[in-house]
């Protein structure tokens, strides 16, 4: 591009083309420096999980140590405390899948309703949903804990899943997405064909708003997978912990030192295993969530 412009030999363009090139180099340097900033800690984590606990402290963090201990570390992660890590992994997946599928479905249904129906109370209810985004969830932590305690849900999966189903931002995103992507004519045509409303929702609406649905699904999946505060409040038995709470408990044992037998290398390898599923999901589903967010961005 730059070469082509200078070929034409027009001096003002020429100067700007040169400036353009050097500015471009600076911009690329800027971008690569930040890429290193964002990626380096993850690289460090990968390297660290191949080390023995001794190497972890004795060798340079950004390169592999004297021994390659990854498989031993993985084995230790899965056998420590009677294999509780496997439980945590399973719990996390279970909580995240249920919360994500449930909240995306509920938010899509609600978003579609706000987008395509006129009914009394519509604006008031939608304002309340929007307003609830502004209330910090911590304001609700203690009463949520006490409520769940009263109905006997503490230390059950539902204590994590049910509150995670309320996703006001998902409702907002799905309303906008439906408004932008679903033409009224399509709904009318389906109604003329005699399809009932539930069938219209499942066979017409869901298909059209699929990218928005996947976006909400993925983000609430991440929200639940990474959630720490809620499970910390409502779960006290290690068998029910998700990875976040479990790893934090191992970490405080490891940092606490003393007689505890938890090694840093195990905490780090456990962390690495915990983040691989989500990173994979984001990379594989990139096209979906990016297009889903672009629609949301129109009015966001």
């Amino acid at each position: 591009m730059a070469a082509k412009i200078s070929d034409t030999g027009r001096s003002p363009r020429d100067r700007s083309a040169q400036g353009f090139w050097s500015r471009q180099t600076l911009i690329m340097v800027f971008m690569f420096l930040f890429l290193i900033y964002f990626i380096l800690p993850l690289f460090w984590l990968v390297v660290s999980s191949t080390k023995t606990d001794a190497d972890l402290f004795a060798t340079f963090g950004l390169w592999f140590g004297d021994s390659f201990n990854l498989f031993t570390n993985i084995h230790s992660v899965f056998t420590r405390d009677g294999g509780v890590y496997r439980e945590w992994l399973w719990n996390t997946a279970y909580y995240a899948i249920c919360s994500a599928a449930g909240s995306a479905f509920i938010a899509t249904l609600a978003g579609y309703t706000f987008a395509k129906f006129r009914f009394p109370g519509r604006n008031v209810i939608f304002s309340m949903v929007l307003g609830s985004i502004l209330i910090p969830l911590t304001a609700l932590a203690v009463p949520t804990y006490l409520l769940l305690n009263n109905i006997g849900l503490i230390n059950t999966p539902l204590a994590v899943i049910l509150p995670s189903l309320v996703n006001p931002f998902g409702v907002y995103l799905m309303r906008i997405y439906t408004e932008q992507s679903l033409p009224d004519e399509l709904l009318d045509a389906a109604r003329v064909d005699g399809a009932n409303e539930l069938r219209i929702f499942f066979s017409v609406v869901l298909r059209i708003v699929a990218p928005g649905f996947v976006t909400v699904l993925l983000f609430s999946f991440v929200g639940t997978w990474n959630n720490y505060f809620l499970p910390l409040l409502v779960l006290s038995k290690p068998d029910f912990y998700p990875l976040t709470v479990g790893l934090a408990s191992w970490n405080s044992l490891a940092s606490g030192g003393g007689g505890s037998q938890i090694l840093f290398s195990i905490v780090l390898t456990g962390s690495l295993i915990a983040i691989i599923p989500l990173m994979t999901a984001f990379l594989l589903l990139q096209r979906y969530w990016e297009s889903g967010l672009t629609f949301g961005g129109v009015k966001a």
Binding site: I27, M28, M31, F34, L35, Y37, F38, L42, W44, L45, S48, L56, F57, G61, L62, I106, L109, A110, T113, F117, P120, I125, M128, S132, L134, I135, P136, L137, T138, A139, L140, A141, P143, L147, L162, L165, V166, D184, D188, V192, N226, Y228, F229, L243, T244, V245, L247, A248, N251, S271, A274, I275, M279, F282, E290, L293, T294, G297, K299, A300
Partner: protein
């Protein structure tokens, strides 16, 4: 729109009177029953896990429970105590100081990345977009313990590099280093997420707008400043509000760091940590509810004031 009306008329003509009678019932069902049926899953959960806890928190905050004497109504006493509680306000001040620096840095970077990735002078765009975004997929617990290891004195990466270069060890986990260290973890985690939101808003700008500006001879910088920036202002506002709320709620990172620096991160280091410890360590649920309520109000007001200021600015 036009064709849609014709279709409906045709149908009515063909159906005759029974359809019309059913049509009235259906219309009521369509206009009230059906929407509420579709909304009911969300509304029920919203009521149970949002409205009820909110009211319950308010209720709790007006009582005091003592070992001797049981639960008594005390009106605004808990709130009076919160307003005089230096532990609480110390946390709020710390988070305010934290946010004043961290939020503009993070959102400034997110905006810069968004504009650069949307413009023409950066290559390998997908690599940068995904690379910057990746930390968002890391649980904040893992992010905190990861950075904790990097910061650590005597074993961390920075310490190792400093030793190698014969420099004094940096004090990331000390009294004065902790706030910037926490700010760095939050920035590392959330810059990419905010970038993606801003980038999505940029992608949604119709191309015609650029064409018009380019024809008028606007430079890339001018287009960014005068065409793109005003159009993504709502997205920036949204990310700012999320960041304000997130800052005041900061909990996971300091809680994890506590095991590395127990002397620095006390039980009231952030207001949220304080509310948690008052409730679950001291078992003072009523007082904790009052703290949470005041904290919620502070966060709500901060977001509200921010929106008010921005909308007044952009109205001028």
């Amino acid at each position: 729109m036009q064709s849609n009306t014709t279709v409906q008329v045709d149908r009515r003509r063909g159906g005759g009177s029974p359809t019309r009678r059913r049509g009235i019932g259906r219309r009521f069902l369509q206009s009230v029953g059906l929407p509420y049926l579709f909304l009911s899953p969300y509304l029920v959960l919203f009521a149970v896990f949002f409205i009820v806890p909110l009211l319950y928190a308010l209720h709790l905050s007006l009582y005091v429970t003592r070992l001797v004497g049981g639960t008594t109504f005390v009106g605004a006493d808990n709130y009076k105590q919160v307003f005089q509680d230096s532990n609480f306000w110390e946390g709020v001040r710390r988070m305010f100081f934290f946010g004043i620096f961290q939020v503009p840095i993070m959102l400034g970077l997110a905006l810069a990345f968004g504009l650069l990735l949307d413009g023409g002078s950066v290559r390998f765009k997908t690599l940068f977009r995904l690379g910057f975004f990746l930390p968002y997929a890391i649980p904040s617990v893992v992010a905190a313990l990861l950075w904790g290891y990097l910061y650590g004195k005597g074993f961390g990466l920075f310490d190792y590099v400093a030793n190698w270069a014969h420099l004094p060890s940096p004090d990331f986990l000390g009294d004065s280093g902790m706030v910037p260290s926490l700010a760095n973890i939050v920035t590392w985690q959330w810059t990419g997420y905010n970038m993606v939101i801003i980038y999505a808003a940029l992608k949604a700008i119709p191309i015609d707008l650029y064409d018009a500006a380019t024809v008028d001879g606007a430079s890339g910088w001018q287009i960014a400043r005068y065409v793109k920036l005003p159009l993504v202002l709502p997205a920036i506002m949204l990310t700012t509000i999320f960041s304000i709320i997130g800052t005041l709620q900061l909990f996971n990172e300091p809680q994890i760091m506590n095991s590395l620096a127990p002397g620095v991160i006390q039980d009231h280091y952030t207001p949220n940590l304080y509310a948690y410890n008052v409730a679950f360590t001291n078992q003072e649920f009523n007082y904790s509810a009052a703290i949470s309520f005041v904290l919620g109000t502070v966060a709500f007001l901060a977001s509200y004031v921010f929106m008010l200021v921005v909308s007044r600015r952009s109205a001028d």
